[in-house]
Symmetry: C2
Subunit: 119 residues, 2 copies
Amino acid sequence: MTKSLLRLTAVETVACCAPLTKEPLSADAAERIAPLLKALADPVRMRLLSLVASHQDGEACVCDLNDAFDLSQPTISHHLKVLHESGLLDRSKRGVWVYYRVRPTALTDLAALIGGVAG
Amino acid sequence: MTKSLLRLTAVETVACCAPLTKEPLSADAAERIAPLLKALADPVRMRLLSLVASHQDGEACVCDLNDAFDLSQPTISHHLKVLHESGLLDRSKRGVWVYYRVRPTALTDLAALIGGVAG
DNA sequence: GTCGGACATTGACGAATGTCAATATCGACG
DNA sequence: CGTCGATATTGACATTCGTCAATGTCCGAC
């Protein structure tokens, strides 16, 4: 385990919490989960995530993603960094290209927290 | 049912879209859905929503909510307004008190969009 | 080794956000 | 009517955010 046992990452917190509608969310959990939602709460990042998730083999290269937007390359890079650092996207470099893929269970865990479906 | 040409609210858009992981989200849909996520992407608002949703009878009075936070009354009022205007909370005034409740299907629809469970 | 291309980082800037103090509104009850 | 209590609105402020231009880094090819 690379992480300390005391502090949980946002994705870990999501996986361990009762659904929003089940019991009041603690202030502590809310503070840790909010960054995950913030990462999603941008139209460009939503589309990036959706593009990656629905892409062939579940992964996409930055070069593909850049072309899908009318934004500068650094801006896309910035958004990908936000998604990666929040734990939603995994990053892997192969040769000259960098590939992103959705971290497994990240979205389903988040959906379970929001929607209240049984894990 | 597929939607008309008229402008859709955020919640309506959520209900009509394929899951994020199923197909690339359109720029248009992303722009309309993002405010919903933004509304959720704040620790105070997450807790407010959770408090309301898990409260007895599924509704809570502002007076109860104020006491649960170390924030000024106008600040709570502001957050409730954001949640209400985004379509996540319904508002009803009875006598002197104002009650909020989670709009039905809002959270489950949102979860379906994120988590990709079959609709 | 050098060059070129893919991606990241930095710095700057306007726009949006969260918060509070002060004030307004609005209904219930003397 | 006048007041009081519950909630909303306004105005101000510091902080955060999204974006771009410029620049940096890393790697493969020649």
